[in-house]
């Protein structure tokens, strides 16, 4: 990648001015190991140096927020002294090189983020984006990532309950692999830095796997530069996951916390030991003496910089009072894990590192963690001829095809079609709390020994983002909130993973800034603050970036899971209502791409007040048990929302598509703030009144029935025919028998 004659700091990814800053901090030239530490900690991945200035504008506070951004994961109050902890992260760069292990270790990493908060991981969700499955390499990436998520997640006993999968050209070179984990903890046991009681003399105990040479400059370097043809050479940086070790780490860590044996807990991720030790020390307002000779190594003869920056998986760092050391060692031994005291907290802020009795690094801990560079990178909007201009509105394009044929094209497009092939490879039921998994608008995971369930949805709107990054982000928040509310739950807070191209390009930085603005406005409108997240830049190759795709992970709460609203039509004889209004909005729609072959126009407008009203109405109607089913109306419009309700519930319907729009526009428009609900006849009067109270427009469009599916005046079919088309589309693309 970089010519070998370049100075060391540049080879470590540090800019010249960043090097000068290190010299200024230390008052001398840095030693090689010190440069490696700064290189890792000040990388884009670890320091958020390009994004910080924008992230600061996001709303982060609210009545339910217990822990906001800056910790390993966010936490919200779910009542009864319990907290839900959640975080999303990207593992796209490693997955592009080795899909199985890249995805597997992504799961491992996000799970350790949750453990380090003192929470038991209870759910995983995986938002994924690939290039079209017509290309062999994309199929290899897709199959490998899915197998890797399953291979790791299934082996650690954490159910994978949701996620979403999209396919788009720009992801061919750069698949997006985001992983989200949710945990549950007693609020008073949340192991955040605020609860640290560490003092000088406290010990840092590394437990879990041994440290190897693999992954040197792994995540932090991979995720901080664009991939090019020479990425093949990055293969040695690929991590091999050991889910069995992770399972032992989960159990040992939770036992350590439960028994009150720890003063703090930190996972080891990007920048490895350097990050864990310096963050722990800096948060405690102290320094540390780190003895690299004490680190259990997998290979002999590792250099200081290798031990310091190795990203070996399945390791944790506990802060332990010396009086508790024997107990900690005993718990780890019971779970078959090795422990090593590698560092001790000391007064002052210095981090001293020795190897073979020699000093190899001595830097202020804070300078690694909190004093990294911060950039206000130049931004520039796209030029006026961009594809999002109003004159490119797909609703204006002539359409003279058969509506039925178009409908089946949309239903079987890989973005819409059933993802059963994927989610059946995931254990979605272990832990025995999965009230609703894939197939539900939002997954519902019961809080053990209670009637409560947390509702989880992850949503990204890459196509909208490509056309208008502000709207793309705002729609992602709205759809995630709507998915949660459609089950009857109350949206509480979000985490996110912000997937973008190279931030050094002004266009990408503008997209990022616009996305943050859209997310901010939507989060304020829905009172769902941001509790943390992850930024994944440099998702581009040879100057071609992915669409700006902030993925939103929404967490909601349903106080009584028995009141949950299912997605599918549960029986015949129900009235079917469309909530919200339909406009001629086909810009960036699934129909435009799948049928017309264009990604163009302007995404649907988003009236945040109307959306907030719909969210409140859905919760109120569920609380009064008025709804027999509820389903967000999103990609593919009313036609697809109805079809999915029919397939999921195994009951057909007869509807008249309302309004005066041309049939294909009415059927496939993706106007925001809509949902399809079914209602027993005796509740129709009350539902109508409640909608009026909330200012939500609604129209009665038909009834549920048996096997038949009728779009009056357009076409008819059957539930079986819908299901057959919907379920077999992806296996067919993979060349499998169906």
């Amino acid at each position: 990648m970089t010519a070998p004659e370049e100075p060391l700091h540049r080879r470590l990814g540090l800019q010249d001015d960043e090097y000068d800053r290190i010299v200024e901090t230390l008052g001398r030239d840095p030693r090689p190991a010190e440069l490696a530490m700064y290189g890792a900690m000040w990388s884009e991945h670890c320091s958020y140096k390009s994004s910080k200035i924008h992230l600061k504008t996001l709303p982060t506070e609210g009545p339910a927020v217990l822990v906001g951004p800056g910790q390993d994961a966010g936490a919200v109050d779910i009542g009864d002294g319990m907290a839900a902890v959640f975080k999303m992260e990207s593992h796209s760069h490693p997955s592009a090189i080795e899909p199985y292990q890249g995805a597997a270790t992504g799961v491992g990493g996000i799970v350790r983020d949750i453990i380090s908060m003192g929470a038991r991981p209870v759910a995983l969700l995986d938002p994924l984006m690939f290039g079209p499955l017509t290309a062999e390499r994309n199929r290899w990436l897709f199959e490998g990532v899915v197998a890797g998520i399953g291979g790791y997640g299934n082996c650690i006993g954490v159910p994978t309950v949701g996620g979403e999968i999209h396919f788009a050209g720009p992801h061919s070179q750069n698949p997006t692999v985001d992983v989200m984990c949710v945990g549950i903890a007693r609020a008073d046991k949340l192991a955040t830095s605020q609860s640290l009681t560490a003092n000088a003399g406290s010990l840092m105990v590394l437990y879990g796997a041994a440290t190897g040479r693999d992954g040197i400059g792994g995540v932090s370097v991979l995720a901080s530069a664009t991939l090019d043809a020479s990425s093949e050479e990055s293969r040695p940086a690929v991590q091999i996951g050991d889910p069995f070790a992770e399972k032992l780490l989960i159990e040992a860590s939770l036992e350590l916390i439960d028994r009150g044996l720890l003063e703090g807990l930190q996972d080891l991720g990007g920048a490895g030991i350097t990050c864990a030790v310096s963050e722990s020390a800096a948060r405690a307002g102290m320094g540390a003496h780190l003895d690299l000779d004490a680190v259990p190594l997998r290979e002999a003869g590792m250099a200081a910089f290798e031990i310091l920056t190795s990203e070996s998986q399945e390791r944790m760092l506990a802060i332990v009072h010396p009086s508790r050391l024997a107990d900690v060692e005993a718990v780890c031994a019971r779970w078959g894990l090795t422990t090593a005291v590698i560092a001790e907290l000391v007064e002052g802020g210095g981090l001293r590192v020795t190897l073979g009795g020699e000093l190899v690094a001595e830097v202020p801990a804070r300078s690694l963690v909190d004093e990294g560079p911060e950039y206000d990178r130049p931004m520039a909007p796209p030029d006026a001829t961009a594809m999002s201009s109003a004159s490119n509105d797909p609703a204006l394009l002539p359409f003279d095809k058969d509506v039925r044929e178009a409908f089946f094209s949309v239903l079987t497009s890989p973005n819409i079609a059933s993802k059963r092939w994927v989610f059946e490879q995931y254990d979605s039921i272990v832990q025995g709390q999965t009230v609703a998994g894939a197939g539900s608008d939002a997954a519902l995971v019961r809080v053990p020994d209670s009637l409560k369930a947390i509702a989880l949805s992850s949503d990204g709107k890459g196509r909208y983002g490509a056309l208008d990054p502000y709207l793309g982000a705002a729609h992602a928040v709205a759809e995630a909130a709507r998915n949660v509310a459609a089950t009857g739950a109350t949206p509480l807070a979000i985490t996110n993973c912000l997937n973008f191209g190279n931030p050094e390009r002004p266009l990408v930085m503008w997209q990022f800034s616009e996305s943050i603005r859209g997310m901010r406005d939507a989060c304020l409108a829905f009172e769902t603050p941001v509790t943390g997240g992850n930024v994944s830049f440099y998702n581009e190759s040879s100057g071609s970036a992915i669409w700006p795709t902030p993925v939103i992970g929404m967490l909601g709460l349903l106080n009584d899971h028995r009141l949950r609203v299912p997605t599918g039509f549960p029986r015949p004889g129900l009235a079917v209502y469309l909530l919200g209004e339909t406009f001629a909005e086909l810009g960036g729609s699934e129909f435009a791409e799948a049928v017309l072959g264009v990604v163009a126009g302007q995404p649907p407008r988003l009236d945040l007040d109307a959306e907030a009203a719909l969210l409140r109405f859905l919760q109120a109607a569920a609380a009064e048990t008025l709804l027999a089913s509820g389903h967000d109306c999103g990609d593919g419009g009313i036609g697809i929302a109805l079809a999915e309700s029919a397939i999921e519930g195994a009951h057909g319907f007869a509807v008249t598509v309302p309004g005066d729009l041309p049939a294909h526009v009415a059927l496939f428009s993706e106007s925001a703030s809509r949902a399809i609900v079914s209602v027993a006849p005796e509740h129709e009067v009350r539902l109508t009144a409640l909608a009026a109270d909330h200012g939500v427009p609604l129209s009665r469009i038909g009834e549920t029935g048996g096997p038949r599916v009728l779009f009056d005046g357009l076409f008819d079919t059957t539930v079986d025919e819908l299901r057959e088309a919907y379920e077999t589309a992806i296996p067919r693309l993979l060349g499998e028998p169906v």
């Binding site: 197998a147 399953g150 291979g151 299934n154 082996c155 650690i156 006993g157 050991d242 889910p243 069995f244 070790a245 399972k247 032992l248 779970w335 078959g336 989610f423 059946e424 490879q425 995931y426 254990d427 979605s428 039921i429 272990v430 832990q431 025995g432 709390q433 999965t434 009230v435 019961r446 899971h561 028995r562």
Partner: protein, 238 residues
């Protein structure tokens, strides 16, 4: 813990995943769940033993290959020889096969992929500790979730399994018809679960512990646990 409720031990091996779920199912069905630890050669006087699902030792060598050497397994073997009820679920089934307590073996699914879905099982005999409350020919809905659940046996062994009516469950449709479409993993003769000759040791790939609580899944596992609790009450293993 209710007085007189049968005590059902659930063994936790390193890498067990559904151990708490099995305990919860026992409690749900009115039993008294007792946590057992792989390294303790002590069954704590339980009336029945469950070897739960999961990936013991990561299944890295072979499913169940290492767990069978756990200290607790000598006790399980002795308990089984006394006629005590033993149920192996998924990884627990694999451990029982590796231990020689049940014939045959489990290899990778025909599709080479992990599969998690609800399936129907046709009950083949009521002569086992998990089917005494069921009638042959009935079907129960229970989820499977495994990557290595394809039951295989040598030809002579298979003949013995069939001749001695050791098959307890076969994958089937809701109305009891067997066929490739209903067989999620390619198991020979659609075998989902088997027993020993005496019927006190049963192993099956599907997860009855995930099919007792109607809030989170089907309920086809209820009669299996009811049968197991009844067998435990009878006290054969004491």
């Amino acid at each position: 813990m209710s007085d007189g409720a049968p005590r059902i031990g659930v063994i936790t091996f390193p890498g067990s995943l559904d151990d708490r779920d099995a305990q919860r199912a026992v409690t749900f069905m009115g039993g008294d769940a007792v946590a057992l630890w792989h390294a303790d050669p002590d069954l704590r006087g339980v009336d029945a033993v469950v070897l739960p699902g999961g990936f013991s030792y990561g299944d890295y060598l072979r499913c169940g290959a290492i767990a069978r050497f756990a200290a607790v397994m000598d006790e399980v073997r002795a308990f089984a020889e006394r006629g005590g009820p033993v149920l192996g679920i998924c990884n627990g089934f694999q451990i029982l096969c590796e231990s020689g307590l049940l014939p045959g073996a489990l290899i990778r699914n025909r599709s080479l992929r992990f599969i998690c879905r609800d399936v129907f099982l046709r009950v083949e005999t009521s002569q086992s500790v998990v089917t005494s409350e069921l009638t042959a020919g009935e079907t129960v809905e229970i989820p499977v979730k495994h990557g290595e659940g394809q039951f295989v046996a040598r030809e002579d062994e298979l003949r013995r399994i069939e001749d001695e009516a050791l098959v307890v469950f076969r994958y089937a449709s809701a109305d009891g018809a067997t066929g490739d479409a209903q067989n999620p993993n390619g198991s020979i003769d659609h075998i989902a679960g088997i027993r020993n000759a005496r019927g006190n040791v049963v192993g099956l790939m599907p997860h009855p512990e995930h099919a007792v609580d109607p809030d989170v899944g089907p309920t086809g596992g209820q009669p299996l646990f009811a049968s197991l609790l009844a067998a435990a009450m009878a006290g054969a293993g004491a």
